[in-house]
Amino acid sequence: MIDEPREIQAERRVRTVLVHGRWTGYRMLLMARLKEMFREPEVIFWIFLFPILLALGLGIAFRNKPAEAVRIVIVQQPGSERIAELLGHSPDLQTLRVAVQPPAQADLNFRLGKFDVELVPRGAGVEYVYDPARPESVLARSLADSALQAGAGSKPAVSTISRVNSEPGSRYIDFLIPGLLGMNLMGSGMWGIGFAIVEMRQRKLLKRYVATPMGRGDFLLALATSRLILMIAELGLVLGFGVVAFHMRVMGSWWAIVLVSCLGALSFAALGLLTASRAQKIETVSGIMNVVMMPMWIFSGIFFSYERFPAAVIPLIKLLPLTALNDMLRAIILEGSSLSSQGAPLAVICVWGGISFFCAVRFFRWT
């Protein structure tokens, strides 16, 4: 029986036949997948542009503002020159904006919020007009007071020194960037794999593939590889953006960051595979994914620390894969922790990925 095909082959017109190696199918699948992704403008936007726009927007909104000037108005009447002169001797001069205006105008401008505090000369002293409901007004009153006292020669009872500390590492943007990276790895892992699979199933392309000698393992491997390639790009872009635009400092080793990102990307790819393992329609899988991702968007500390949740639920939050990923990324990027100190979150993410992959392969429906 085995020899029979050859005989028939000989009867057929001789035609050129290529001989393909073990990995040709895998290579072709990977290339096709990458080409398809990069030809989809939405992919470029959601995976690359979106996190950067988000980081830019939030970075600007929560940027550390330079100390704002304190705006002081002195009511023009006898004694106002002396007050202006005393303020002029203040060591905080560069943060004080002082104006002298006639009483009616000074009152009006204070009321309109153009000045934070109004100084009215009262004989040798000063009357402060301020609004305790406006924090900047309270601050202005106290600054003006200490400036006046110091200008008049009063010595502080306790000697003090001030040192400025607004170094990269402690700002909101430093907290945000690793969280965005984690969120991005989750999103593109789940959408990227889940949607691709359900779409192929819906189009009967999966069925068409399994009608060929394509290795099913090769198919999954190609999907995973395409995720990793994209992951490197996402990582470089988001973290690179933080470094270039916000002068973030990366404290830990880049190798550790890449490794953790790989684990994260694969783990979420496996979760995406699981959510897509049986769904026949895009609508179904999209619903399932939102249900899976929603708790992580809220609890896993993307935009704010999960320490704000009640202490009782924090151990549960730490069992979520995105929490583990974000914690590791922050520890390595911000604190310079080594990979070996991250045993618990490493275990969490590997277990999620492993179980998801196992179940996905078990339940997977090709047709």
Partner: protein, 306 residues
């Protein structure tokens, strides 16, 4: 070559889509499964393609079977499914390279492009192709693996006449080079022109099989005489059998159809009979019998109820 015995398929305990089908396809044959929509054609061909498991029955292709030799079999078969939508953002050439890459031995993409008249469109995205071009590409993805047996499920459904003819040419060419083809269709003209052997399927069973000529002569004649009378006479169908050379009678909506072997004998006799009874003919036509007639004769229904 391709053999199946007592094939049955029950979906989730509900519908029995295939109820005992036997097929034998010989090397070099173009075998057609003809039947209306929902007859079980797709289920049958997908079982043969190894995409569905039969509830019972055996399949043997080239001496191999799906349980033990699935990997080898896939190398030897080319498949085109009903309505697969290939990736729209890949070009025609990329799609063929992808599918070719799955096979240990594949044909050079340029050869296949040339053979299926797709060279001009080689660098166009699949999404930009016309229906006929998409269908040719679907068949190309089956041919690029250099298959011995080609399975085509409804290869020309929804295509314009010219595209259909192009698909037929592709099938004939594959067959002329020694390939074996199994195709499903609900177009009788397609089955009649393209297939060497046909099995007519209805309700999950083969109700007739043979070469197109055998099937047609099985109706009782190669010609059909159809006529309508001004007022329908109260006579049984059997009445018309007394005419010379009548092999079968069928009345439908006032039109009576006679299957006859020799119309030159039947028609004069019919005219005489009509005149003797004082009836008047409203309509009288003759044509060649077709597979449609075979189907109507066997089931009392038309192949395409539209």
């Amino acid at each position: 070559m391709v053999h199946c015995r007592e094939l049955r398929k029950t979906y989730e305990g509900k519908v029995e889509a295939v109820r005992g089908i036997d097929l034998t396809i010989y090397a070099g044959q173009c075998y057609g499964l003809l039947g209306p929509n929902g007859a079980g054609k797709t289920t049958t061909i997908e079982i043969l393609e190894g995409l569905l498991d039969a509830s019972s029955g055996t399949v043997e292709i080239l001496g191999l079977n799906w349980r033990e030799n699935a990997a080898e079999l896939r190398e030897l078969l080319g498949v085109s499914l009903q309505e697969t939508r290939l990736s729209e953002k890949l070009t025609v050439r990329e799609t063929l390279e992808l599918f070719g890459g799955f096979y240990r031995n594949a044909r050079p993409v340029e050869d296949v492009l040339d053979e299926l008249a797709l060279t001009e469109k080689a660098d166009a995205w699949v999404g930009k192709l016309s229906g006929g071009q998409k269908q040719r590409l679907a068949i190309a993805t089956a041919l690029v693996g250099n298959p011995r047996v080609l399975f085509l499920d409804e290869p020309t459904t929804g295509l314009d006449p010219q595209s259909r003819r192009q698909v037929w040419d592709i099938v004939r060419r594959f067959q002329s080079e020694g390939g074996t083809v199994l195709l499903t269709t609900h177009y009788m003209d397609e089955a009649e022109r393209l297939c060497d052997f046909i099995s007519i399927i209805d309700h999950g069973k083969v109700i007739a099989s043979g070469t197109p000529a055998e099937l047609i002569s099985g109706v009782g004649g190669h010609h059909r005489v159809e006529f309508a009378l001004e007022t329908e006479p109260a006579v049984a169908a059997e009445f018309w059998r007394t005419l010379p050379g009548v092999g079968g009678v069928l009345s439908e909506a006032g039109v009576t159809a006679l299957t006859v072997e020799e119309p030159h004998l039947t028609i004069p006799a019919l005219l005489t009979l009509v005149e003797q009874n004082g009836w008047r003919l409203n309509q009288l036509t003759t044509r060649q019998s077709s597979l449609e007639d075979v189907f109507v004769n066997l089931t009392g229904r038309r192949l395409r109820e539209d």
